[in-house]
Symmetry: C2
Subunit: 566 residues, 2 copies
């Protein structure tokens, strides 16, 4: 298997290269990853001709998806391979610029779907940084050494602390509205008013001022946290990072594990990972994702888990699922429904969950659980229908039960199909379902599900560990439908066919609305409110039409606008 | 002035009739409003050929904006003219159908902007019902006597109680996704999972099932609150309404006031109300809305306020502002910026606010305050830039200060312009700024503004009543900029010109993101998350393209979809 700037050269379909989300530091083109004791230094130094696709040059540290895939990889490496790291310093390797943000020519060439997927992945990476800071003992400091615009500033906004050079050249800005007629699409607007709590009228002025703000005003308006002379920037940023790192729960003497390449096997319409089998049905436009339960129990000790490394089942599963989700999202847009199944021994899944809980203070176990949380959150914001089938032989228990709870709909077979001697399907609640894996709205999937029936949540808690067959699972509100063998095939087939017949757009809007009952968070606001507006604007002629501002950028002509407000 | 089904016949611009939001019960075509003691009965009986525009027939109690304008008017009449009413019963006058929802042919003919505006107004009316129930002592019961689909069911969802006939003919449904490839656009999805807390997987099934649900399953799934035989429907609904009305804070013996027609005077590009002057500048694409402060203090007694009726300044102002906002939104889409000014005596505004507070337990005073709250909320969700100018002679105090706080940006003149002998502008905080007028996110505008500086909120509270000149107002964080006479004209002119040069769509998305920091509510989720997704879908070819499902509805051909998920 050959990798090339994120494009997998061997995996072409109808001439279009597929995007791979796997990479490794030795293949980075755009980032340098260095270590200084408990500090990791991530230096953005984008290779102009290293774009993921032809047709644009990544000038001024502007970026495309390929740059962000490397950032995502680097963060994963820091988390798993360098547990001694307690703070990350982000900066630019260019002398005169921090980052010009997402590459505009790339954006103007991209299809609607590419733009939306790009923003989503980039958002997820930034949210992951904040999650690492809040729950993983990893602080982020951004050292702004030159103009820091658009997505560049949005990256800074995802950090805990922004230190900026106080010189005439350095500024922060969100020039998307005045310059391109689109929104800052990776959380910038939301983080301004919700995270940094910049006053709304100041945020309004800032977001309509192409050149941005610098120096004292940027500090006074809460756009950055610290101003230092250019010559002291590196020093000040490192000092701040060391301060933030001081109380970190990551182990100064910890030894990392290696994230070996996943190297899934591709056979026609199937992709095989050690614990996940993906199989496409193009006529029904579905992907079946079958989780394979563990073959044995977990190592008995923390040391054993560390020795297993990336082969520890929960971690291997998280990595495989993550890769499969990203692949399907980016490369298989016509596969509109993801059908989850599982096969295996529920007791072993249970044992894995027990190990995660018993050793949760260990950094690797904690990182594994946090990774599972992030992967499950990717499902919540994926614009695909998720349908889970619970059949005999399955092992939807604890962590895997989240795949039932994350589904837009689930079906559980009551009894068995003719000729199948296996015991009827059952599922099991675990302690992990009550806190380990919150959704982007901050609630567990169970709590979101039972907003209207708090007593159902309590009843569920009392049944942890109990094997619930179809009737009981349905009565407990854990599955949508529980047909018996007479109806099973027909009901499932109809559901899949029906789903395939609906407008993909209407389904995306509906699912995004129904999945997030209850409270909203920074994260859910970014994926709900902000992304939805951005999607709208990406469709509007004022931005992406032939005379739109995004389309015309760089031609010397300004965008022409339909002046009507909608 | 002639009214015709909501279209103002005398006000035509470039051939297109303007929409008027004023009507009165004697002119209703589609609703019957009757009174039974403390109960108002609102019966939907849509006149098929009574559409607001030609080209569609309002069959099966389907509705258009004209129907909703009447509903809005009826609710205002009940609130102000019939204080004895404590519960409203909504039902249908057709024997075999409750409502088929928004008229599909109307929707498919409407422009993008018309669709969006229609949904917004309809949403506001439904939110107003819930607000009346929570804060105004008015309960809503919906009696579903036949198929209740789409917007019809969304109307039911806005009520406190839904009682449904248990017969083979009666069902509730949200068929938009399967039938039209759009979303239920007036809060349906949000109210399902957030208000009624229907389980998300059941909501998914329900929203993809064209024919909807009926009988026991609809009840079990929390889609309705009560099932009764068809023959008992009216009786059961009345009984429920009487129960809900029992504890109402509205006065059984109260005497209403009359909401006389507003009859604003139109002179060229000006619209004159008694306390509001609207003036359009088409080249700058702005509307200047100048609030005229009260000419005298408030009546000294509650009886005096009642005697003033609709001429009581706060109420007259609320009505004028409401009408102007609705007019500008519907009829002047190219006017992208609304500039608020005020003229008058701040002491008199203060006195009006004091009267609102002193007599807040009186039903009319309470209704007036609630109306002001609704009008101010319309501003928050209007897709127009709001800019407030605070100049000498202005009276931005208490209630009127909300127009400064609602602005995307405000400018306050420091000192005076040459040749102006008036004292410098000042503004004043009032008690009303700390609770009477929450935004859709549930926070006051001050609290939203100072999320990042809670101490500024406390400081502001300590300065209630103090006249703050520009420097002090800026230091207190109440205005964005405070230029002096040297910069004033230039800075304001530049801001307006710049705003007019930006993409209207990007501004809408940006403003909708920056205005609502902090928590989200049912209401803000409807306007943020749901409406943004709906706007996107209204732009997608799968819905509104030539082969889209909405466009093709009724032709016998199904929509053709681009099957790619975005």
């Amino acid at each position: 298997m050959q990798y090339n700037a994120g494009i997998r050269a061997d995996a072409c379909k109808a001439g279009a290269a597929m995007i791979s989300f796997e990479t490794a530091p030795e293949r980075y083109k755009h980032w340098r990853l260095a270590f200084e004791g408990r500090l990791a230094v991530l230096t953005l130094d984008v290779k102009e001709d290293g774009g993921l696709k032809p047709g644009y040059e990544l000038k001024l540290n502007s970026y495309d998806l390929g740059v962000d895939i490397e950032l995502h990889d680097a963060l994963q490496r820091i988390r798993f391979e360098h547990p001694e790291v307690a703070a990350v310093l982000l900066t630019s390797g260019k002398e005169r610029v921090f980052s010009a943000g997402a590459n505009i020519r790339m954006l103007s060439q991209a299809s609607h779907s590419e733009k939306v997927n790009f923003c989503k992945f980039t958002n997820e990476t930034r949210n992951g940084m904040e999650d690492a800071s809040r729950h993983g003992g990893l602080a982020f400091v951004c050292a702004v050494n030159g103009p820091c615009a658009g997505g560049g500033y949005e990256l800074a906004l995802a950090c805990d602390w922004i230190v900026m050079a106080d010189d005439g050249n350095t500024s922060v800005s969100l020039p998307e509205v005045p310059l391109l007629a689109v929104l800052p699409g990776t959380g910038g607007l939301t983080r301004l008013v919700d995270k940094r709590m910049v006053r709304r009228d100041r945020a309004d002025f800032f977001c309509t001022t192409e050149e941005g703000l610098k120096g004292k005003r940027a500090l006074d308006w809460r756009l950055v946290d610290e101003l230092v002379p250019r010559s002291k920037l590196g020093e000040a940023a490192r000092a701040r990072a060391r301060t933030l790192a001081a109380g970190s729960s990551r182990p100064a003497q910890g030894k990392g594990i290696r994230l070996a390449p996943l190297a899934p096997v591709r056979e026609g319409e199937r992709i095989l990972y050690p614990h996940l089998r993906v199989s496409l049905d193009r006529s029904l436009r579905t992907a079946e994702l079958t989780i394979l339960g563990p073959a044995a129990g977990p190592p008995e000790t923390v040391a054993g888990i560390h020795a297993s490394g990336a082969e520890f089942w929960p971690l291997a599963l998280a990595r495989a699922l993550d890769d499969a989700i990203l692949h399907l999202r980016a490369n298989e847009p016509e596969i509109g429904t993801w059908v989850f199944k599982s096969e295996g021994d529920a007791d072993l899944v249970d044992a894995m969950d027990a190990a995660l809980l018993a050793h949760r203070s260990d950094w690797l176990v904690r990182e594994t659980t946090l990774y599972l949380k992030r992967v499950l959150k990717r499902l919540d914001v994926s614009s695909r229908t998720i349908l889970t089938l619970v059949e005999p032989g399955s092992c939807f228990c604890g962590t895997l039960l989240e795949l039932v709870l994350a589904a837009d709909r689930s079906y559980m077979l009551a009894g068995a199909l003719a000729g199948d001697n296996r015991p009827p399907a059952s599922l099991r609640l675990g302690e992990v379902n009550f806190g380990a894996y919150p959704m982007p709205n901050g609630l567990t999937r169970l709590a979101s599900r039972f907003l209207g029936e708090p007593q159902a949540l309590e009843t569920a808690r009392a049944r942890i560990g109990e094997a619930l067959e179809a009737e009981a699972a349905e009565a407990a509100g854990l599955v949508t439908f529980a047909p018996d063998e007479i109806d099973w095939s027909e009901e499932v087939r109809l559901a899949l066919e029906e789903r395939a017949s609906f407008s993909p757009d209407a389904l995306s809007g509906m699912e995004a609305s129904l999945r997030f009952a209850g409270p909203e968070t920074l994260e859910s606001k970014i994926f709900g409110r902000l992304s939805a507006w951005q999607n709208w604007i990406f469709q509007r002629p004022n931005a992406t039409g032939e005379a739109g501002a995004l389309k015309r950028y760089g031609t010397g002509q300004r965008g022409e606008f339909d002046k009507r407000r909608v």
